[in-house]
Amino acid sequence: MSFPWANEYKPQHPVMQWVDERLPLPRFVYNAIGGGYPVPRNLNYFWNFGVLSGVALMIQIITGIILAMHYYASIDGAFNSVEHIMRDVNGGWFIRYAHMNGASFFFIVVYIHIFRGLFYGSYKAPREMVWLLGVVIFLLMMATGFMGYVLPWGQMSYWGAQVITGFFSAIPVVGEPLRQWLLGGYAPDQATLNRFFSLHYLLPFVILGTIILHVWALHIPGSSNPTGVSVKAESDTVPFHPYYTAKDGFGLGLFLLAFVAVTFFSPNMLGHPDNYIPANPLSTPAHIVPEWYYLPFYAILKAFTVDFGIPFTGIVIIPAKLMGVLAMFGSILLLFFLPWLDTSPVRSGHYRPLFRKFFLFGLIPSVLALGYCGMMPAEQPYVMISQIAAAYYFAHFLIILPIVSRIEKTLPLPNSITEAVTGKPLETAAA
């Protein structure tokens, strides 16, 4: 893995030598996140967010396991058990609020991590597998987050389960049977809650496994960097430890500061008050909104309001409901094809002026607009805005990127990372 000049793990202590000969786990860790992993010397703070995502997942797993010690997965007891955690369990309020807001912070850092990858071309060869596994992780996170939100069995939990499983009923022929199979009944009920609890406990560990693959795949070519220029010599890299452990540690400190600030001072800021009303199958909340991190996708779903068919005949080929569902899943599945949609040989957006404009002034505003429309009711002008933004989102990946990759005149790249940092050319051979 990585480069020939990587430091070798040399255990000093006889006990460590004994262990290393039998199970080289410390060697594995050293080569993964220790002095044995050479990293480009010019990473900026956008490269902190991978580690932060891992920390956020660990916070979720630890607090989640603790919550499961006090929670009852029953439609009669679930809501009360959450209140029991909040009021009676020692420090339970802290554990639950940390888990609630930990989910939001997990998505915040993962979104920054994804946009870092999009801008700096981290999905390009030879790192396509890293990107594909990343999209798998993202899908698993969305499934996990949704199921977790159902568990307190409040109004938003219940109607969220109703609406999300309703997506599957849009599929022709098998849709409705599939939905009933997912729910274990005609509407969300005890069977639904039980299976969601089981899966919400399981999936984070699947995510953890996928993260291990993601990091493994990353360490074959090694980390990319803001210039997008590949590592050429030893002077281009520094050992991960102590250089990036220190830098990541600083970033982690800031992240935790923001996290505890929200957890302690404004724990319900990102939640919906309706979820403090126990689930009532006979009354739907005024508008059902998902958690903030799903809003852009929810807006894409809602943007499709017209049946797609042959004009003036009344023949409907794809009904609006199915179209919205296809578009919503498509907007995520699209990311799987990104490495082959963007054919530019230059990785970093820094040296791609046209791409940079479309990315900063097209893609990012369109996603933010979708997020805003997602939380608004389905009325004008929000429907129109979300239609335009959704159209741009798809066009960006399917039309703009392939064309820009071909016609763009890229800026001259630095000859090496070392040159980009020091201004002095890389000393070859006799370095």
Binding site: R41, H84, R87, V89, N90, G91
Partner: protein
């Protein structure tokens, strides 16, 4: 910004005893990280203790007026059985005959009851050996060789004061904190 080359060319100032300034920074940083880890670990461990709703069940009140001498009832306190026994004068005399010095866990009946209420023996129904529930409280149950309680699981015999007399249990049946709040009502806990 210090680059790698600069760092390599920097000569570290080492004091005469070989201690660098950086050593202090290392120790300080790791120590502070340890303080942080401990601060996080505390609430994560504390949540497993008895919650407020469990602690709220810490006392019960029992009306003992209906218990005739020679009878006993089982009640439940903190999810554990409690034996409330109205001793007959003979049983009280039996208990007081024993030379305290010969006992495994020396206590008199007076130590284990309230003054003027010596006939009310209130003990946990939990064998001090391994926590089984001894027999002898309900009518018709075996009371053991000493007329008190008998735990069949491992053969512990308790006398009429609930003291261990024979078998593996190390201690007398535990007497919970209790008080008579009237002539016939006992508050346990």
């Amino acid at each position: 910004m210090a680059t790698v080359e600069q760092a390599e060319s920097m000569t570290e100032t080492v004091a005469e005893d070989g201690v660098r300034r950086r050593d202090f920074i290392h120790i300080a940083a790791v120590s502070w990280a340890g303080v942080g880890a401990a601060a996080v670990a505390l609430p994560l461990l504390n949540q497993m203790g008895a919650s407020a709703d469990v602690r709220a069940l810490a006392s019960i009140e029992v009306d003992v007026a209906a218990i005739e001498p020679g009878q006993a009832i089982k009640t439940s306190w903190r999810k554990q059985p409690v034996f409330i026994r109205n001793l007959t004068p003979a049983e009280v005399a039996d208990a007081n005959k024993v030379a305290v010095g010969t006992l495994r866990d020396p206590q008199t009946l007076a130590d284990r009851t309230k003054p003027g209420k010596e006939n009310w023996l209130i003990t946990m129904g939990v064998c001090t050996h391994l926590g089984c529930v001894p027999l002898g409280a309900a009518a018709g149950e075996v009371k053991g060789e000493f007329g008190g309680y008998f735990c069949p699981c491992h053969g512990s015999h308790y006398d009429t004061a609930g003291r261990i007399r024979k078998g593996p249990a190390p201690l007398n049946l535990q007497v919970p904190e209790f008080a008579f709040i009237s002539d016939t009502v006992v508050k346990i806990g």
